[in-house]
């Protein structure tokens, strides 16, 4: 074995490479680690005019305060309800669509559908929000359709009625991301050995039996992985979506944790309180990810990290 050359010599030899990597390290330190240090204001009474170093320490006061805050629990309830809805509908939807597309023999039509279905993923939430305002308006396409079908007699102002908000939030996200979500599953399906299907056909397996006994088990790994990621994000909410769809009249059902933090912190300047809420939820989210990863590792002998 060749003895290692001294530190300084090795360093000089790769000085150019080091000059490439240091800006990245600095970036991470400044834009990721300084905010992590900034979390300490959750334990302080920090105001705009203060420095972190001379703010008054208040221990867990801010945490006690939001745990007794009804607004906070309302946001938690809405976040979890919307997340569970997104999980229950938005998780299986792309799998089903991918299965349908995978069985489809008309190649051009399949290609066309894929192109169409990816498109909403590239619309911004502002655009989709504007579209929803138009579709859901009293003279919008949805009311016209439902009235033509005789489902409702009078048009309904969906966006300002709190009771419809959860459904709007869930379905609009499913509509936006369902097609895009098929990409991974379709790729996994195209990697399945075709001789498996041939053997099944010889054995007399019907189309649906093939799907159930070959296609689905073959993509089990990727399904489990996507489920872990989805469960890990249960407490996360889509702030882009919330800020676009919220109206003063539907706040009762549309205030989610992220928008609650945004309003308290950025708009009302209650920095310490908002940081405490943010810290609380990101610690729980981290715990959820570690836990689900642990579970899949036990079940599957594989994990994301």
């Amino acid at each position: 074995m060749v003895p290692q050359r001294p530190f300084w010599e090795r360093w000089k030899k790769q000085a150019a490479l080091q000059s490439f990597v240091w800006p990245g390290i600095l970036f991470i330190l400044i834009f990721s680690y300084i905010p992590m240090y900034g979390i300490v204001i959750a334990f302080q009474d920090y105001t705009v005019v203060d420095q972190i170093s001379n703010s008054k320490w208040v221990g867990l006061d801010k945490f006690a305060a939001f745990l007794n805050d009804q607004q906070f629990w309302r946001a938690v309830g809405n976040t979890i309800a919307i997340s569970i809805g997104k999980l229950a509908i938005g998780f299986p939807a792309p799998i089903i669509l991918a299965l349908l597309l995978n069985e489809l023999r008309a190649r051009r039509f399949k290609k066309f559908t894929q192109t169409v279905s990816y498109l909403p993923h590239f619309l911004s939430w502002v655009i989709l929000g504007g579209m929803l305002v138009s579709w859901l308006a009293t003279d919008g396409i949805l009311n016209q359709l439902l009235m033509a079908l005789g489902v409702i007699q009078k048009p309904i102002a969906y966006l300002v009625k709190p009771d419809y908000y959860w459904a709007i939030a869930v379905l609009s996200e499913v509509w936006k991301e369902m097609g895009w979500g098929t990409i991974l599953y379709l790729a996994a399906m195209s990697g399945i050995d075709p001789t498996l299907y041939e053997a099944a056909k010889v054995d007399g397996a019907k189309r649906l039996q093939q799907v159930w006994h070959i296609t689905l088990p073959s993509i089990r790994g990727i399904i489990a992985l996507m489920l872990v990621l989805a469960v890990g994000g249960l407490l996360g909410s889509n702030l882009d979506q919330a800020l676009v769809l919220q109206r003063p009249l539907n706040l009762k059902k549309s205030e989610v944790i992220d928008s609650f933090v945004f309003k308290l912190g950025i708009q009302q300047g209650d920095f310490s309180y908002a940081t405490a809420v943010g810290l609380f939820t990101s610690v729980i989210a981290l715990g959820l990810i570690l836990f689900t990863n642990f579970v899949t590792r036990k079940l599957n002998d594989r994990s994301i990290f």
Partner: protein
């Protein structure tokens, strides 16, 4: 024969289901385009669904008369261009160095970065940081905090590793410097992955309104997505309407929103079918990170 018949019924059934899904995506979007091309006061009576009843370009004319929209388009275009270029260059420089196993401190940096993928300071501490860096109400907020992404760096790093060392070694023997090798050998060989990263980053920049919503108060610095956010959520469209017309109102707040939405989305919808394969490839690259 019988089997063949069953298969055909099955395919027809699939065709119907998938076709229904395509319509579910296409028709609502088409409805928006149609409404934007219809006379506003006529559309307000309802009933315009799949084809303009009273075709009119008035909405677009009014929108293009509003000076604010040109400015916000300029902000969007310039920040997308600048943001993507600096992001791709910065990330690939770091990734190139990181693709070398003998780089000192490599493991240390990987660990430092992985932590940030699972835990962060959150909204408020980031906001206070940007404030102390003087990035509030500053155009650079669109560029500087977006210049690096650890995730994109990993994707690029994995790609660079696949490039045979022999190419670089022979160049190094000929006396090429690290900078030269990076510019003239590595980057040109990596065009597919650079294009993919650039596309995702570009769509992200174009569609982003949150940065402006959080950090920018000055309306002159608002990109077009923020401009739209204001007229959709904060009902500024009425103002826009007043600015455009004095006596008769040929447009409504809603019709102007629709026209602006179509204009804003058009660039993405037009380039997207041609670049679809890059997007799909990028989705795949990202999923096999490691």
């Amino acid at each position: 024969m019988r089997k063949n018949y069953g298969e055909r019924v099955f395919q027809a059934f699939l065709w119907l289901l998938v076709g229904f899904f395509s319509l579910l995506v296409l028709l609502p979007v088409w409805n928006i385009v149609v409404l934007s091309l219809n006379d506003a006061n006529d559309a307000a009576k309802g009933g315009v669904t799949l084809w303009p009843r009273a075709f009119s370009l008035e909405n677009y004319k009014v929108v293009f008369q509003y000076p604010q929209i040109f400015n916000s388009f300029w902000i969007s275009i310039s920040k997308t261009f600048l943001g993507v270029t600096t992001h791709v260059l910065f990330c690939s420089m770091v990734a190139y160095a990181m693709s070398k196993k003998h780089l000192m401190g490599r493991q240390w940096f990987i660990r430092l970065g992985i932590v940030t993928m699972f835990f962060g300071g959150g909204l408020i501490p980031s906001f206070l940081l940007m404030k102390s860096l003087g990035l509030l109400d500053n155009y650079l907020i669109y560029i500087i905090p977006a210049v690096f992404s650890f995730y994109d760096m990993i994707i690029l790093m994995n790609f660079f590793r696949e490039i045979p060392d022999s190419l670089e070694e022979s160049a190094a023997i000929d006396g090429a410097s690290t900078y030269y090798i990076f510019w003239r050998i590595i980057l040109p060989l990596s065009m597919p992955v650079l294009a993919t990263i650039a596309l995702f980053n570009g769509v992200g920049q174009w569609n982003d309104y949150m940065t402006a919503k959080i950090y920018i108060n000055n309306p002159d610095l608002h990109p077009v997505q923020m401009f739209l956010y204001k007229i959709i959520v904060q009902e500024e469209a009425s103002k826009l309407n007043h600015a455009a017309s004095v006596i008769v109102m040929p447009t409504t707040a809603r019709s102007l929103q629709l026209a602006t939405m179509v204009i804003t989305t058009a660039p993405i919808v037009m380039v997207y079918p041609f670049l679809q394969k890059y997007f799909v490839k990028g989705m795949m690259v990202g999923s096999v990170k490691g």
